[in-house]
Symmetry: C2
């Protein structure tokens, strides 16, 4: 007999299911381009039911994004601890690419729709975190060239992850993508002279 969960641990967490489906649809069709009705239909519930689990569309959006943003924040804090230990640069790049890959839907949303949705707190916070990457990683005031290299690396990586050719990334070539991304991001993010 499998250990029965003593406290409430619904084997099918409806809220989590909705968050997952919503995140996917927000990434694919945009926040304004996705209606609660569409999310409800995709999940097999009624619109009212979605609004029973989440106060509003914006609340659903924020909760769907929150875990990824939290992990990004955690990642940044761990980076600051290590400071700029020099040779950990390569490790940072690999970890960062893995973070992006793990949260590619959220990353895609923040990068592509970030400016549009900057009045949503979680999105705004995420954008601030991205700025922190630049500040902490590049010594002192970043030059225009450095800012552009970082921007190209972030937006480019986010785009490639979701838009990679036809549809969803196939599992068998994800390692190839990962390797190529680490390569190109590392190249862009390494602070060159000037």
């Amino acid at each position: 007999m499998p250990t029965p969960q003593p406290i409430t641990r619904p084997q099918t967490d409806v809220a989590a299911e909705l968050r997952s489906i919503a995140l996917e649809m927000f990434a694919e069709h945009g926040y304004t381009g996705t209606s609660l009705q569409q999310i409800a239909d995709a999940a097999g519930y009624s619109k009212s039911s979605v609004l029973y689990h989440f106060r509003s569309k914006e609340a659903l959006f924020e909760e769907a994004l929150a875990p990824s943003v939290a992990e990004l924040e955690e990642f940044l804090d761990s980076i600051v601890e290590k400071a700029t230990s020099g040779d950990s640069r390569a490790q940072f790049t690999a970890d960062f690419v893995d973070l992006l890959l793990d949260h590619r839907l959220a990353a895609h949303i923040i990068i592509n729709q970030g400016q549009t949705l900057s009045d949503i707190p979680t999105v705004d916070r995420a954008r601030g975190l991205i700025d922190r990457i630049g500040e902490s990683f590049m010594s002192g005031l970043p030059t225009t060239k450095q800012r552009i290299r970082l921007g190209v690396a972030l937006a480019g990586a986010a785009y490639v992850m979701v838009a990679s050719r036809p549809s969803a990334t196939e599992i068998d070539d994800i390692d190839e993508v990962r390797e190529a991304l680490i390569d190109v991001v590392g190249e862009l993010i390494t602070p060159l002279s000037n």
Copy 2:
């Protein structure tokens, strides 16, 4: 007396004005996030008036995007003529960055909202053109690594141009941006071995 235009050449082309305003708003708030009412208000006309000049919202969107897409197509044709003349690589990169800068709103829309709006003919055509860049520029079948480098370059550049820090790109540092973009795009797009 300045030469009076013999045929109708309205000194203030309302349709062009609407296209311009609409393009800006579509880029900033997304296609689905921008309503005809908002465009009309921004232009100082009524919604009915906008629909007098354009058959539909989608038609306005397509016409606002069309000139940029046409110029991209022209650019690609001129590239094919030159074939791969080798040393013109640098020239290509500079021309390409200039093209992106000249049409940065349209580029931003196509890159960021392209997959969402791929059912709109002009957008779909533009995405096809972008694919052509990859095919024509990289010899034979592009490897995963090459495709990713191109994707990063395109999406990254498009992002930087519109999202470049606070708001609209200031005129005085546009040369600096241009230079940095040419540098980074050139670096990414140059087909390395493997």
